[in-house]
């Protein structure tokens, strides 16, 4: 016994300064009975019983007032959750929280647990993108296991099947609940904050809707929903968070007694309230929000999207101001509004704006934009393709665009009249029979978007185009026939290679194979402006070849 005493004493000496730890607890929990201080070094001591506070509790609990004040527009939901979770040690039915993305489901729930200060296990199905990761993530937390370099970042248990998961979980939960109980007693007497902790442990599954996309995801979902029944442990509370409603998880889960909690989307006033929080100059921001929020809310009511969209607009709004602490009067508001107004509508279409990295470049760009505008006015446009592309790739892309845009019946008419001799596709019959039919087909095609075409058609058009335009291209080297030969040789050398390059650049996409012919079909996905630019860069009269109504 003397040995064990010394063993006990040494850790006490070490931790004496940190807390008035009671020696009544078992020798294995000398450290970290205060949840407030999870030191980085302490995590290396794994699997000590008390580390559950590290894994399952928030470091700093908050009061109810703090909880309400941090989510001013979610009071009803907070109350409902508190009611459903209930007082300590009360078994609960599984809760299913749902609502649109970015409606504060996760953070409200986590804050509720922060307030309650009860042990919980959180796993997001977004971070854990397959069942195994989900299972192991839950188990790791229940086992107080951390992935570290010392354990080769391995999980506590290898678990791939749902049945294994249930077994491991039961085993672990029994163990954990025992630990919680053990911890409960001394703490209750000592720490007032831990009073309400109780003996429950809660499992939170976030982003449950993602599971539906996994292999046999629905089966897994139903297992998770039924988990309470399967494990038959009253100490276990289950909370599911999803952006899809319960109906979307098929009818078979309807049997489960999940209690739905709906988080409605924020209203305009609530959004206003949310965005007003923590602003350094509320008056200015309020006038700004008054201008833009209504318009933006027509598009989206998601807080995250709105906050992203608001930042650049506010910057624009403040541009005329020299001092951001100014309190705007009516006249100034009107002035600021008139400055901002032209930017609001464009910003609605611009979810994604790429800023330039260098100052020099931005200037250049501005110049360019101005230049383009000017040129558009004068009618003589000199567009440039601002990336390198070999000539054969350009022609190939043009021919792909023609093939996608024009109906196949038109090929013969187009390329025969212009003198393309190589076109072996003789479809003249159908093209001359009736113009009306053609019109109808063309209309249909416009509705369908860019059409698909087989490789053969692409190559035929490519050959026609290059044979037509060979003259002008080679004119610069007419003096020596040799290079002319070289040039055309280069054009034809690796068409298939160029095709794959274009596919890689997403200008042409490979469609599924045609069920009748069995060959791969392609589709040009490039937009017309770009093709026009490219055609202009090789002096190809593309407009002549495009079929228009």
């Amino acid at each position: 016994m003397g040995d064990s005493e010394t063993v006990v004493k040494t850790p006490i000496r070490v931790t004496r300064s940190s807390s008035s730890s009671t020696t009544t607890t078992t020798t294995t929990t000398p450290k970290q009975n205060s949840p407030q201080k999870p030191k980085p070094g302490s995590r290396s001591l794994k699997n000590t019983k008390a580390s559950f506070s590290d894994y399952l509790l928030f470091p700093k609990p908050i009061t109810l007032d703090q909880l309400y004040s941090s989510y001013p527009c979610r009071k009803a939901q907070i109350d409902e959750l508190l009611h459903l979770i209930g007082p300590p040690n009360s078994p609960m039915k599984p809760i299913f929280i749902y609502g649109r993305p970015s409606s504060a489901k996760t953070s409200v729930l986590l804050h509720v647990f922060k307030h309650l200060n009860r042990p919980f296990v959180y796993s997001s199905c977004k971070s854990c993108y397959n069942p195994r990761l989900l299972f192991e993530s839950v188990l790791n937390q229940v086992f107080f296991h951390g992935k570290q370099s010392t354990n080769n970042y391995a999980s506590a248990k290898r678990c791939e099947k749902a049945s294994d998961f249930m077994n491991f979980l039961r085993e672990a939960l029994v163990h954990t609940i025992a630990t919680i109980r053990e911890n409960q007693r001394p703490k209750g007497s000592k720490n007032s904050l831990n009073c309400g902790a109780g003996e429950m442990i809660y499992l939170i599954f976030d982003n449950v809707e993602m599971i539906r996309d996994w292999d046999s995801g629905l089966a897994l979902v139903s297992v998770l929903f039924k988990m309470g029944d399967l494990l038959k442990m009253p100490e276990l509370g289950l909370v599911f968070i999803s952006s899809a409603s319960l109906d979307s998880f098929y009818g078979n889960t309807g049997l489960m007694e999940l209690v739905p909690v709906f988080f409605p989307s924020y209203t305009d006033e609530e959004l206003y309230q949310i965005f007003m929080r923590g602003q350094p100059n509320p008056k200015l921001y309020s006038s700004f929000l008054g201008v833009v929020l209504k318009t933006l809310c027509r598009l989206t009511k998601r807080v995250d999207e709105l906050s992203v969209a608001l930042v650049p607009l506010f910057r624009k709004y403040c541009e005329p101001l020299s001092d951001l602490r100014v309190i705007p009067d009516e006249a100034m508001k009107r002035k600021l509004f008139s400055c901002l107004q032209p930017h609001i509508m464009p910003s609605l279409n611009q979810v994604f704006k790429v800023e330039s990295g260098t100052i020099v470049e931005t200037n250049k760009e501005k110049e360019k934009r101005k230049g383009i505008l000017r040129k558009q006015g004068s009618g003589e446009t000199v567009y440039e393709v601002d990336f390198q592309m070999s000539d054969s790739a350009k022609y190939l892309l043009i021919s792909a665009f023609i093939a996608s845009k024009n109906p196949a019946t038109l090929d013969a008419a187009l390329f025969d009249s212009t003198g393309g001799s190589d076109n072996r596709k003789r479809k003249r019959k159908s093209s001359v029979t009736s113009i009306e039919k053609k019109d109808q087909a063309a209309q249909e095609m416009l509705l369908k978007g860019p059409g698909t075409f087989p490789l053969e058609r692409l190559l035929a058009i490519f050959q026609c185009i290059t044979s037509v335009t060979d003259g002008p291209i080679e004119r610069e080297q007419v003096e020596d026939g040799l290079t002319e030969e070289v040039g055309s040789c280069g054009l034809m050398s690796d068409v298939l290679l160029q095709l794959s390059t274009l596919c890689n650049a997403n200008f042409i996409c490979k469609g599924g194979s045609c069920p009748l012919e069995g060959s791969t079909r392609y589709r040009a996905t490039i937009d017309e402006d770009m093709v026009m630019k490219i055609a202009r860069s090789v002096n190809f009269p593309l407009a002549k070849y495009l079929y228009r109504r």
């Binding site: 030191k39 980085p40 995590r43 590290d54 941090s70 953070s107 986590l110 922060k114 959180y122 796993s123 977004k126 971070s127 854990c128 993108y129 990761l133 192991e136 993530s137 992935k147 570290q148 370099s149 970042y153 999980s155 939170i204 929080r277 906050s307 979810v351 994604f352 704006k353 790429v354 800023e355 330039s356 990295g357 260098t358 470049e361 601002d386 990336f387 390198q388 592309m389 070999s390 000539d391 054969s392 790739a393 004119r475 610069e476 080297q477 020596d480 040799l482 290079t483 070289v486 040039g487 040789c489 280069g490 054009l491 690796d494 390059t501 890689n504 650049a505 997403n506 200008f507 996905t525």
Partner: protein
């Protein structure tokens, strides 16, 4: 690696030259080096020792060119690297300032509970400006190394990792393998989090570089982005994505819920054309490395670049092949080594001490034949080469001057370079016209401008130099001043021109100063009208422009002598475009087909002749037969005729024992015949695709 001799089927133009082909067939071990003009060589000893010299010279010259190219490329990317590093630094600070996250919180599975959570990934789109990614693979690797040296964690991912097949696990596995240096079979973000929370790794940005975003599977990439953005406060991940086409490409690729997690910034790499210009400048125009390309070869290289795939990589490869071919074909090419490194007297001696064969060869060089040499060939060679060097230096100075002009007018150095190499340049019509234009400069420039506009389409292709000269006239005064300064620097070695440039510069400086002062005064009074200067001053500045243009013209006329019109240029100048073309593009299919048609001429066995015989190779027979049938061939007919050749001859050799039965009725055939048929059918089936 030099392509082996067998693949080089002589093109029709070469055949005349290669009448001596049969005698090198005996020299199988030697590649085509001695194909041309090898009759001058008598002693094997000399041959081998000079061959060694040549290969040494090649190694030396190529290594120099290569390092020059590498330096240029490195230089072109260095400022981008700096910018990116600044961006990484700024973004990292932005992430850190958005929320503080203690070390222990990093590993928690739940998100941080703070307001205004930053859920956006800082992303840099690096526009590579080339649809082919080959050139930039190395750039991204180097970028990784550079940022790593600045204290970032670097992950290089390519589109292969973002495949639908492996899904998000594939890219995470690769990410962890590079960061954690350990491959888990359950790669997930929690491992990354615990790795990042370790003392040594904490508090550094993690930069994920994706080279070719367009080729990634959009689904997987979107998933990857949303996942990382959830964790970005805990694990500060920055993305650098290479975009080959336009900035719009990511927007088209990714769904909007992934896009909203990106905080994009755009960076641009130099376009391949710019880089190519820099390479040309560094490797061919400025210094002389002992290797130059002729006009036709330069044109070919240019077309190869523009039409083939537009990558620097393939251009450099083509250049290397040209260089190799040159050193293997040109017997005196080893002289370049001495010219670069040794002083003139030493290599003059080398020239004089050349063996008889080589001297004879030198005397027969086509460029020297025109003006016959009397007396010592060695001396003439030494003189000729030093003259050549002088001409070349002048040439490069003028080309550099023109290139400086080209920078203002978006004229590529490559174009100017090609044109300046043209030996028929002085006779070029367009250029002459341009020079004449210069002569009667008293004519009002207005008309000139109108003319130019109407002509521009026609003249643009032919005369980049003429364009450059015109550009000199159109430059604004400030740019012209700048330009003249550059000219002064480039023409330092040509005293006469430099003198003129300096004189022009000094008069110009006075004028410009006056003008600037005037302009400022005007600007104070009436801003919008300040552009319209009084006529006199305008004329004055035009005089300066005219003078500069005249100077340019005289430089072009007097000093820009294309290397191909100077004696002994063959020693340094590679002109055999056909050789290069066959080596680069080749025409493997055509070669194989012609070879199949005339296999007897290669095999040279006694039994074969031009007609089809069964002793020929099966492939050859089949191909010959297919040719006889024209475009389409019925397989049955093909087989029939194939069989007819084999069987017909064998029966002939068996002294016509009996006619073989009609092959259609195989069932009727007797036993030995069937065996025979099987042995015929088997190779046939093997060969028919």
């Amino acid at each position: 690696m030099a392509p082996s001799a067998t693949t080089d089927w002589p093109s029709p133009s070469e055949i005349g030259d290669n009448a001596l082909q049969p005698c090198f067939v005996l020299h199988k071990a030697l590649p085509r080096k001695y194909e041309k003009r090898s009759k001058e060589f008598n002693s094997d000893e000399d041959e081998s020792s000079y061959e060694k010299l040549r290969s040494e010279a090649f190694n030396l010259v190529w290594s120099r060119i290569e390092t020059a190219i590498k330096d240029v490329l490195k230089h072109s990317t260095s400022h981008l690297f700096k910018e990116l590093h600044n961006w990484v630094h700024e973004s990292f600070l932005a992430i850190k300032s958005s929320a503080t996250c203690s070390l222990s919180e990093v590993t928690r599975p739940y998100p941080l509970l703070v307001d205004n959570l930053c859920r956006q990934l800082f992303t840099a789109f690096v526009l590579t400006k080339n649809i082919e990614i080959v050139d930039d693979l190395l750039t991204f690797k180097e970028l990784g190394v550079h940022l790593k040296s600045q204290g970032c964690h670097i992950v290089n991912l390519s589109s292969h990792e973002f495949s639908v097949k492996h899904g998000i696990a594939g890219c995470f596995r690769s990410l962890l393998r590079q960061l954690v240096t350990f491959a888990s079979n359950t790669p997930d973000i929690s491992i990354l989090a615990s790795w990042y929370s370790e003392e040594a790794n904490y508090d550094k940005p993690i930069v994920v570089i994706i080279e070719d975003v367009e080729q990634c599977s959009s689904m997987v990439l979107a998933e990857f982005i949303t996942l990382l953005s959830e964790w970005v406060v805990k694990i500060p991940v920055l993305m650098i994505m290479g975009v080959a086409t336009t900035v719009d490409a990511p927007r088209k690729l990714l769904p909007s819920n992934a896009l909203q997690h990106l905080q994009p910034r755009k960076f641009t790499l130099g376009s391949p054309v710019e880089r190519l210009d820099a390479i040309i400048e560094a490797a061919f125009v400025k210094p002389f490395y002992g290797f130059n390309v002729g006009y036709k070869v330069a044109l070919f290289l240019r077309n190869y670049f523009l039409r083939h795939d537009g990558t620097i990589t393939s251009f450099v490869r083509a250049l290397k092949i040209a260089c190799m071919k040159h050193f293997s074909m040109e017997q005196l090419s080893f002289l370049c080594k001495g010219i670069i490194d040794e002083d003139s007297k030493v290599w003059e001696k080398t020239c004089q001490s050349l063996p008889e064969g080589l001297l004879k060869y030198a005397a027969n060089i086509s460029s020297i034949k025109r003006n016959n040499i009397d007396g010592n060939v060695g001396d003439a060679l030494a003189d000729g080469i030093s003259e050549l060097m002088r001409l070349r230096n002048n040439w490069s100075a003028v080309v550099m001057c023109l290139f400086e002009v080209g920078k203002y007018g978006k004229i590529q150095l490559l174009d100017i370079f090609c044109e300046a190499l043209d030996p028929s340049l002085p006779n070029c019509k367009a250029l002459k016209r341009c020079l004449e234009e210069g002569k009667d400069h008293r004519q009002p420039l207005r008309r000139d401008a109108i003319l130019r506009d109407s002509e521009s389409l026609n003249s643009r292709e032919g005369t980049f130099i003429a364009q450059a000269v015109r550009k000199v006239r159109d430059l604004p005064s400030a740019s012209l001043h700048q330009l003249l300064k550059f000219w002064a620097r480039h023409t330092e070695e040509i005293a006469e021109v430099n003198h003129k440039v300096q004189a022009l510069l000094s008069t110009f400086e006075v004028e410009v100063d006056g003008q600037v002062v005037k302009q400022e005064e005007n600007g104070m009074k009436r801003n919008p009208v300040s552009q319209r200067l009084p006529n006199m001053e305008k004329d004055k500045s035009q005089v300066a422009h005219e003078k500069a243009a005249m100077l340019a013209i005289s430089m072009i006329r007097d000093y820009m002598v294309p290397i191909e019109s100077s004696p002994f240029h063959e020693i340094f100048c590679f002109k055999h475009v056909d050789v290069l073309q066959s080596a680069l593009i080749g025409d493997p299919r055509k070669t194989i087909q012609t070879d199949l048609l005339r296999s007897h001429s290669y095999l040279q066995c006694s039994c074969c002749s031009a007609s089809l015989t069964p002793s020929m190779h099966d492939t050859s027979i089949l191909y010959n037969l297919a040719q006889e049938h024209g475009d389409l061939i019925n397989v049955h007919d093909w087989y029939e005729s194939y069989k007819a050749i084999l069987v017909g001859s064998s029966t002939k050799s068996k002294a016509k024992q009996k006619q073989s039965p009609t092959p259609k009725k195989r069932k009727v055939t007797d036993e030995p015949n069937r065996i025979e048929e099987a042995s015929i059918q088997y190779p046939f089936l093997l060969l028919v695709p």
